[in-house]
């Protein structure tokens, strides 16, 4: 029973991580570059929600579209500042430029909000459901629902729409996409916007339950990164599964020992996986290795 409870908590956390990892892998596929600022964008989304809630006291679910919209605009700025000027350089340049951007976001937030932990409003309000000895908060249920809707929406966008086809074509082979008349630059910018919006949503979802401080970004990016590596570099489904695994691992091990041990063992597990299966648990998406 206790294990079931942990699983519920793990899946809730995993749903939020999955949003972060999804944004990470979308940018990775479109640019073959790592967006290291993705974790700081999560934090930015969280603080944006805190700030907006201070201005207009609305429940989280109503703030969510606003946060995602503003974050999408920030994503466009990320693409213009840290990716576009470097598009013809080795991918490692983008890694460094997004580290720099992460520092800027982190310290900007620290300057504005201070280092104290903050919490965004709950999606619908406090409260919990209990049955058969299991407890699940309304917030956790709402996180699961929102994440499912967003992931489903991205899936539909990529799979069903013309825009999605253009995004996927850009991710698969930029030169050919460009030859077919697809505005590749715009598609990449749009991918960054989408990734930032997803990160912002994750920030809003997480910052109610877990609080948020300006320096939390490194932890988020590392977990998204691990999720994408174990899920298979460049695989979208793998990244989502990887995010779930990371969160479940973290929750279960933290319950058995403590949080520090859980994080330490997570890295150890990552090194072991990389040693035996450098292509990740589910195999690497062919030809996308950066």
């Amino acid at each position: 029973m206790e294990l079931l409870q942990l699983a519920i908590n793990g899946v809730t956390l995993g749903a939020a991580y999955a949003l972060v990892a999804l944004g990470f892998v979308l940018v990775l596929n479109a640019t073959s570059a790592v967006n290291f600022a993705q974790g700081d964008l999560v934090v930015a989304g969280g603080f944006l929600a805190v700030a907006l809630a201070g201005l207009v006291p609305l429940p989280g679910i109503l703030l969510l579209p606003l946060v995602m919209l503003l974050m999408a605009a920030i994503g466009l700025a990320v693409s213009a500042l840290a990716y576009w000027p470097l598009r013809d350089r080795p991918p490692v340049s983008v890694f460094i430029s997004t580290i720099a951007l992460g520092i800027i976001i982190q310290n900007g937030l620290n300057g504005i909000f201070g280092a104290e932990p903050r919490a965004a409003p709950a999606l619908f309000g406090a409260g919990r459901l209990e049955f058969a000895g299991l407890m699940i908060t309304h917030q956790a249920l709402a996180i699961l629902g929102v994440a499912a809707v967003l992931i489903g929406g991205v899936h539909r966008l990529l799979g069903r729409s013309q825009l999605g086809r253009m995004l996927r074509a850009t991710a698969q082979d930029r030169e050919i996409a460009s030859a077919l008349g697809i505005p590749v630059g715009g598609m990449v910018a749009l991918t960054f916007a989408l990734a930032a919006a997803l990160a912002g949503a994750a920030g809003l979802l997480l910052s109610n339950q877990f609080f948020i401080t300006p320096t939390d970004g490194t932890g988020f990016i590392v977990k998204a990164y691990i999720a994408v590596v174990i899920g298979g570099w460049g695989r979208i489904g793998g990244a989502l599964a990887g995010a779930m695994l990371v969160a479940l691992f973290e929750i279960v091990v933290a319950a058995l020992f403590d949080y520090a041990v859980a994080t330490g063992l997570l890295y150890a597990a990552l090194l072991v996986i990389l040693f035996f299966r450098p292509q990740g648990l589910f195999g690497e998406a062919v030809g996308r290795r950066a």
Partner: protein, 583 residues
């Protein structure tokens, strides 16, 4: 040679007046601003410079984005701090122990981490930093937990206290100078040339017999040792140690120093460290936003000037005060005579998914033979070369060289067994001279002056004597091709594999290349040449092998193979005479 010239030669070709002026300005500065605070900042700048010089080994020279340098720095600080505060040890013990600890950590993680490529390597090294930080925060009984440990002693050597201010600053900068000299010795000679090839053209480096794994490990280990040393100096300077030294901002500072100053330039590391340590002072009005200025400076530099400040200065100097090339080195005839061996290939198979690129090839090549491998696109020629060179592993069959099985050996092993190769698309370092591009091919070399002499000998014979010091990127394709051949020949191979050497060359260049290869063949080196151009091949091969769909369909004297009906049907598709006209 007078003392100044010798010093100049020892420090390396690109040491310059500017650097000296910078060093003098640095030395004069405390006289101008001799207050304790300025001295302390300068001391810290030296500490960061040392850590950054170390970071350049792995990030700049080996070209791997490591995010573990902060961990080595922090570990050094913790080890020295704990030994000093809890065991009362002096610097003569804390310093070497800190370096040793960082080296041990690097060695322990090297096995799983160093074989990872690019982004995986970055993540794994970031993980090392995070784990080290977690240990420091949670192992309270030893590390003091989140509060850390206060009461680290002043730096004292064998009971002699080095006071803060002038003495400590001079000691730190003395160690920076020592570290810089050691770094220059490591990266200046042959190792530097090898590191450059490994960073820019890893496949070519392996094919040239360079042990990439060993070189990467050396760079990683050295960076850790420098990081540990800097950490120990830091803890004796600030006299407390807390988890802050292991947090990400330290790593980012080191990255920023290397990017802003210059990724492979020691002067760049020093300049970058001095700038970044003083940045918060100059941006004092920004208060808590000063780290934001770090980020902005790093971003601006990566976007606008990825070569760094020193790289920019060098480019400016090259433009306004072009430097004369040194005279070419004297020629040294190579001593190694190729040891001729027989190459035996039997039942060789390699498939990619459902495609059998090489499908049961039998081939025997006698020592000293010159053989051309021809066939249509997709007939398996390049795969065959890659199988022999160790770039691909066969699915079945064997390759024997001088009687010994060599299939499954990595490219390094093949090169060291006496078989070298060139590539279909040139794999040269554009920014390096023709001379060094050739010299780097000798994996046995120990002394760069001697090897350059041998390379000069070879370049002269290949008609490249006049362009020895020219950057490869500025040479026309025909000459670049010859530089690659020189790199493959300098180690004295018994067999040379050439993958489409005439591709993208003009008619004249092809003729020149054919006569060069003819001379190479006469010197006793076995030649295996994959090529489309029959005309070119007939200039120097005595035997043709034609492949089709991964199988040998003809093997014999050139004129005989060209008349085989199977060859005409599968490859030429027309009478040989017509083909001749079109080629």
């Amino acid at each position: 040679m007078n003392a100044a010239a010798r010093l100049r030669g020892w420090l390396g070709r690109d040491i310059n007046a500017l650097l000296l002026a910078g060093a003098l300005a640095l030395a004069a500065w405390p006289f101008i601003q001799g207050d304790p605070y300025s001295l302390r900042l300068l001391t810290l700048a030296g500490i960061y410079a040392l850590a950054a010089i170390g970071y350049q080994f792995v990030f700049g020279h080996a070209g791997a984005l490591s995010l573990a340098q902060g961990a080595f720095f922090g570990l050094g600080a913790y080890v020295a701090g704990i030994l000093s505060a809890k065991a009362g040890m002096g610097f003569e013990l804390t310093f070497p122990t800190a370096i040793l600890a960082a080296g041990l950590l690097a060695t322990a993680v090297a096995l799983p981490v160093l074989r990872l490529q690019s982004h995986y390597f970055a993540l794994a090294t970031l993980g090392i930093g995070q784990v080290t930080l977690l240990v420091a925060v949670n192992w309270e009984s030893v590390t003091g937990g989140a509060n850390g440990i206060a009461g680290v002693a002043k730096l004292n050597l064998f009971g002699l206290t080095v006071e803060r201010g002038w003495p400590l600053m001079l000691l730190v900068w003395g160690l920076v100078v020592l570290g810089a000299v050691a770094a220059r010795r490591f990266t200046g000679g042959l190792t530097g040339v090898r590191l450059t090839l490994m960073r820019e053209q890893p496949m070519a480096a392996e094919a040239a017999g360079i042990d990439i794994r060993r070189l990467r490990f050396a760079a990683f280990l050295l960076s850790a040792l420098f990081g540990g040393a800097a950490g120990a100096l830091q803890v004796h300077t600030v006299r407390v140690v807390s988890p802050e030294v292991l947090e990400f901002p330290v790593m980012v500072s080191l990255l920023a120093i290397a990017v802003i100053g210059g990724r492979t330039s020691i002067a760049g590391a020093i300049l970058g460290a001095v700038l970044l340590v003083h940045l918060p002072e100059w941006f004092r009005p920004l208060e808590k936003y000063y780290l934001l200025a770090y980020g902005a400076a790093l971003l601006a530099m990566v976007v606008a000037a990825p070569w760094g400040l020193i790289g920019g200065l060098r480019m400016a100097r090259g433009k306004w005060m072009p430097e004369q090339d040194p005279p070419p080195p004297g020629e040294i005839a190579p001593s190694a005579a190729p040891k001729p061996s027989q190459l035996e290939i039997g039942g060789l198979v390699r498939h990619f998914g459902g495609v059998r690129a090489v499908d049961g090839v039998d081939l025997s090549i006698a020592p000293g033979e010159a053989i051309g491998i021809v066939g249509a696109n997709g007939s398996g020629k390049s795969t065959l070369v890659n199988l022999i060179a160790g770039t691909e592993r066969p699915d079945a069959g064997h390759i024997r060289w001088g009687g010994k099985r060599i299939d499954g050996l990595p490219p390094v092993g093949i090169a060291r067994a006496g078989m070298t190769r060139t590539f279909q698309s040139l794999k040269l370092v554009d920014g390096m001279s023709a001379l060094d591009n050739a010299a780097v091919g000798d994996w046995r070399a120990r002394d760069i002056a001697h090897t350059r002499g041998e390379a000069m000998h070879l370049l002269t014979r290949l008609g490249l004597g006049d362009v020895a010091w020219r950057s490869c990127g500025t040479l026309p394709p025909g000459l670049r091709r010859r530089v690659e051949i020189a790199r493959a020949l300098i180690a004295g191979p018994a067999l040379l594999l050439l993958d489409e050497p005439a591709a993208s060359l003009t008619g004249e260049e092809r003729q020149a290349l054919a006569s060069i290869l003819s001379a190479v063949s006469r010197s006793g080196v076995t030649l295996v040449v994959v090529e489309h151009d029959l005309e070119f091949l007939t200039g120097f091969v005595s035997r043709l092998v034609c492949l089709d769909a991964g199988r040998v369909i003809a093997d014999g004297a050139p004129e005989q193979v060209r008349r085989e009906p199977a060859v005409i049907a599968a490859w030429l598709g027309q009478a040989p005479d017509e083909e001749k006209e079109n080629s």
